[in-house]
Symmetry: C2
Subunit: 492 residues, 2 copies
């Protein structure tokens, strides 16, 4: 095998990096913290975009595009927002280079200093609400339901491919409503869209819940989240949806005339998922042989490898493979025939396993004579030899099987690593083993902070559904009364 | 009518701005030179993206994503490139803001100065070739055929919505090849993709040709272009494809081992179209009532307006409209029923005309009783009353009709505004009237520059096809011998 992957049990973190780089998903660029997303990785992201975009549009959301740059002063407008954002960011101060008068190359032209610095957007609430101000006059202009697919920049000090990069790709939805109820319902609707998407497309079980006040988005009254468990037992926040109240409307003076003729501030939501989902996909399903891609997101769903001794046999096998390919493509599947003449079949098998292709077909001369083919499943690493009669229908059904199996496996893993805990000493030991602990919490930010300081664990969410948490008890840290359990974990 | 549009004959430039803003395509943002693309405008851009992306992929191109930022030093590597680019650009110098010690708000943290400034990409040849260096070792790694859809920034001093903005959206393809012939063939293939797209989708006739050396992309050995004529007779460059030779490979030291075992520099192309195509679409087809959208790009292809006196009649008309809508949607058409109760039909008609919807159906109670409907075509502004029997097929066929008619109209306009010219005095007068002049040119940069200085006209291209230009003659300016005519025009 050409590319060795570190075992998860040896070094989980290195295993992750190996998968990202060796499966050709992404790599570091010459610019600190910014990644290059390679064609194979980008093809997966495109599939995610396409499915999500369709789901958004079904809820009435439209796409738009807002500027990359935000005037520095905009960040000062919303007090909590500026505290939470806009500190570590890319600041544009000049608009021209010039030839270096002292030598070769180019230098910044000092005479081209901007009057006001521009910030490369870390998120777009401010510039969007400054725009909405002109779009909204009357209740008839509401709701506004916009989304944009774009790049954002947050100057992270420690970066990891997909999980935390200075520049990343995402979508950010920004909606404007006449009432608080309508905005809250929209925030809830969108987090459920994310949960559906995670489960059905990423094959990723998630817990939907509210963030504790400490963990809310800067400027939000409520943050809803989907939380997933990775194979090391850590939590990964995979998407958030915020109810922003009237904070941005007040900061940017966005009001509407109600049916009754009064001027009212507008209510807001925002919600987003990013290329971080690529990290979740890799870490939730991958194994020591490489990626395991759910068929719904696999750029190549079926790969076929011919195995032959004679040129005559080679051609006959290829002819049959093209026939099967045609049938599968007509059913909507993406198929690749790997006929590279410089590589041995074993090398090809390992490469497509590394890249997570759900189904591999191998056919030799004897297979062809017997009208059979060998089918290997990436998720179970099992092989079976089946007849060619009805092979397309067989593979078509197998796709659903694999998609479901990957989900079920991840769900079982999560279920066996989530448990109730009611003792603080036990908590301190257990939380280091990974997994989610369902514990009572007294609801105070102080307790939450102390638990974090002592164990690094945070409240991932106060679950809405997915587990039965409503019961009376005592806070695991303070012993004060509590009426529901929350999810604690160490997170990415 | 609610929104007045300036007439083209009164003020063509104001007419254009009116269409962009009043048809809800785009608007200026709070950031100088950066636009907001509104949902209706973005929906058109999405359709362009979708069609083009499919065409690219059919040629074997894959999408990827490269960083937004480029280290300043990269621009000094390719001598011609730095001369042509990277002067007017957005320069990131710092990576942190801090609370203003002297008051409210935030200021740039002087201690967070970057060691090397970063440039927001104006185009990505440099960062991409720096990346390709690691991807290419052997002839087996070639060709590389990557494209990215992204935003770029060029600090333009005078901006116009879509036509010239500081930030714009585009795609940039970057390919790497083993031979010069293969790279040149790719550059040619892609300019033909653009020409096909312009003709079939934008309904825009274009002339395909080579740029003169003066007008080449910075760092290219050859630039191919598609040039379109706007209704004021000016030319608009709608897409370019560059053969870059080995310039970037040499600057970034990208070599491959050939089959014969020698180390060779790699050959390159790049090619792009941008949101400027939105400007071309508006200016090529719009009229004094607003946009005229080709059905292939219309976010709404059919709008239906009910006209009623009684609530009973209203409901009956709506029921019929939903039935027609369902039929049309099953045929792949996008349909909107405008049932807003606060607006009169005449207002709605004007609004959908302004927005360029290809077909409008109006149905009154008498129509319903007669099983008829009134169909209005946006391109011809004609109306006809037709029976409801087979209405879906009728409209389906009408879409092709309209698409073709819009193209034919633009083609006729261009043909009647393109002419040969062999006299310098005539040239100086004629060029100011708009339109393309086919003239002999001696091939020298000096002559080209003098013609530009005296008339503002430039050589738009040396046509490959689209018109018969190969003939002997004398340069219109210098009188020196020439063996082909080139296209002169004043351009956007």
């Amino acid at each position: 095998m050409a590319k060795e992957v570190t075992k998860r049990s040896e070094n989980y973190s290195q295993w992750y990096n190996d998968l990202v780089v060796k499966a050709d998903l992404a790599e570091q660029s010459a610019v600190r913290g910014c990644m290059v997303i390679k064609p194979y990785g980008y093809a997966i992201w495109e599939k995610m975009q396409s499915v999500l975009d369709g789901m958004f549009k079904k809820t009435g959301v439209q796409n738009a595009y807002f500027p990359l740059f935000i005037p520095k002063s905009f960040f000062s407008r919303e007090a909590e927002h500026v505290a939470g954002f806009a500190k570590e960011c890319a600041v544009v101060t000049h608009h021209r280079l010039m030839n270096d008068p002292d030598g070769k190359g180019v230098v910044v032209d000092p005479s081209a200093k901007l009057e006001e610095e521009l910030i490369v957007r870390p998120t777009s609430e401010t510039i969007i609400w400054n725009t909405y101000k002109n779009w909204i006059k009357s209740w008839r202009d509401l709701p506004i339901l916009c989304n944009q697919w774009c790049n954002v920049v947050r100057w992270e000090m420690r970066t990891r491919l997909f999980l935390r990069t200075a520049e990343f790709l995402w979508q950010e939805g920004h909606t404007a409503h006449a009432t608080s109820e309508e905005a809250q319902a929209k925030a809830y609707e969108m987090v459920q869209v994310y949960a559906d998407f995670a489960r059905s497309c990423l094959a990723l079980p998630v817990i939907v819940g509210h963030k504790s006040p400490n963990e809310r988005f800067a400027g939000a009254l409520d943050t809803l989240t989907i939380e997933a468990m990775m194979q090391d037992g850590k939590a990964l926040q995979a998407g958030t949806s915020h109810f922003l109240g009237q904070n941005f409307a007040k900061s940017f003076d966005v009001t509407y005339q109600s049916k009754e003729g009064t001027q009212e501030y507008v209510w807001a939501t925002s919600w987003g998922v990013s290329t971080r989902l690529m990290g979740a996909l890799i870490m939730a399903h991958g194994d020591d042989n490489g990626l395991v891609l759910p068929p719904a997101l696999a750029p190549i769903q079926v790969v076929m490898v011919p195995i032959f001794k004679t040129e005559e046999g080679h051609q006959a096998i290829l002819d049959k493979m093209y026939e099967i390919k045609k049938g599968l493509e007509a059913m909507g599947h993406s198929v690749k025939i790997d006929d590279r003449d410089t590589l041995r079949p074993g090398f090809k098998f390992a490469e497509w396993e590394l890249k997570g292709v759900p189904v591999r077909l191998a056919m030799g001369e004897r297979d062809l004579a017997n009208s059979t083919v060998e089918i290997a499943r990436r998720d179970t690493l099992t092989k079976e030899t089946v007849g060619l009669e009805g092979i397309e229908q067989h593979i078509h059904a197998l796709m659903d099987d694999i998609q479901n199996n990957i989900y079920e496996k991840a769900l079982q893993f999560r279920e066996s690593n989530i448990r109730k805990c009611d003792d603080w000493e036990e908590f301190k030991t257990e939380i280091q083993k990974g997994g989610f602990l369902l514990c009572h919490w007294d609801g105070s930010a102080e307790t939450e902070q102390k638990i974090k300081d002592e164990t690094k664990a945070t409240i991932r969410c106060i679950p809405i559904d997915s587990c039965v948490c409503e019961e009376e008890g005592k806070c695991i840290y303070s012993g004060k009364p509590s009426n529901r359990r929350v999810v604690f974990a160490i997170s990415y």
